[in-house]
Amino acid sequence: MSTLTFAARDSATMLKRSLLHTVRYPVTLIVALGVPAMLLLLFVGVFGGALGAGSVPSGGRYIDYVVPGILLMTVGYGASTTSQSVNRDMTEGIIARFRTMAISRSSVLTGHVVGALIRTMVSAVVLVGVALLMGYRSNATVLEWLGAAGLLALLTLALSWLAVAVGLAAGSVEGTSGFALLVQLLPFISSAFVPTATMSVAVRWFAHNQPFTPVIDTLRGLLLGTPIGHSGFIAVAWCLGLAVAGFLWSVSLFKRSAAR
């Protein structure tokens, strides 16, 4: 009867801990809030002039084109932070302590994932604010904004579960850096910053078939009114698939983790 209540209560406790960590560990905050804003400045202010001309179809502005890509990178940075903090829990032994206590098993990981979701969504809102200040304009309706936020949340969920699994699997914080590099690099080989049409054949094939491209195309469609086509379904399918895979991987690692 009370199992579910306890699970929710323990998850809330773990969430509180995760949020406290975010506040206590300034690097997390700087990475979550500062880096995406810096990237936006970099892409719009530095590369924008050169990339913009050829990139933006139908004479749009580069900042409008690039914001969905930077939002994606925000999610990626959030996920690498998550894998690091899960890994710190593992290596510091506090997960072993939690496992010897009569608490809901899932709460340990749920706390991290929900914490990551909140952290990432807050930084996404901050990023959109900075973008608006820099002249970003969207013709999206409230419903379209909500759709974009929903998709971003889904992607965050997917990457966070993967991040949890990576954090549990890695022997040290350095071990999680491969994952961080991957999620930060993948947006570059997608339609995030330049249209895929300019890429070589093999790279274009990869860019078209990797999960970030449909997500970006969908976000761009929702915020700029460009055609979405099948991208919406493909994006949601990728996110759900990655979330389930990450979840199952995390749970199986968590069950075995104490044996180390």
Partner: protein, 344 residues
Amino acid sequence: MNTAAPSPAITAAGLRKSFGEKAVLDGVDLSVAEGTVFCLLGPNGAGKTTAVRILSTLIEADGGTLRVAGHDPVRESAAVRSAIGVTGQFSAVDGLLTGRENLLLMADLHHLPGRRRRERAAELLERFDLVDAADRRASTYSGGMRRRLDLAMTLVGEPKIIFLDEPTTGLDPRSRRTMWQIVRDLVDRGVTIFLTTQYLDEADELADRIAVLDQGRIVASGTPAELKRRVPGGHIRLQFPDEARAASAERLLAGSSREGELFLNVPGDAGVGALRALLTRLDEAAIEVDALSVHTPDLDDVFFALTGRPAAEAGETANETAGETADDDDQTTENHLVQKESGR
């Protein structure tokens, strides 16, 4: 209690666990009476930590019958977990949270009601002498403070059985004594303690019963007094200014044996009385002594007596396969030396 006779808090029969080819626990039997301190004594890699991890539900045994607080750690893990508290070898505190927040976190996870959780945290900070550091991040704590906080966190849920896995390894002598006092206080409150250590003096100070674990097997068990009777090796070591004096002292003191030109080992009890008597005899015979050191039986002697091998060697061979870190060993040796120098 549902039976007339007090049932043991922890029992294990034929406990076995292997990691790959290596049998870490190879048929361990033990029984810990409620409200007592049981000490599992052994060198690094003997299987102590593995035993704790199995009994505290962290990993499953390959075989054997186990009961912790009357429950099976695998099939009734939730019941076991709500009765136990574990303080591991490497303190599991949250370095980013303050001492108080760490305790409040535990209080929340034990579902203590609102006001009670703050009271409990304040109580434990007071009891573990952490009031001044309560609102500092745990990552700034010294080794001794971290251990105390770790143990305080374990106590938030008022467990009936506490596992202490090498609670003083790496601590300075003063912090060790504080930890010992804490353990004694816990026993006074009726808690059952399952302690692992690699120091005989620690087991001697705290334990009601000791079991010596070597390469996954219990090689001896009994009360500290019973165990020490089986262990020779206590002696007083004298240093003389020249060989002539050493030789005459050797003739004077029956059973003594020379070591080199200037040293003489006198076997036997190293209590204050015996020491005074020895010095008086030397004095009366007008034999001048340069220096004196007291050697009490330690884990090396226990191991040598029980297994025919020095403890360090036993630890090393087991270590290679169990994969404990070299760091750990260094720390241990260092601490051991400090302990010997400070004397007892």
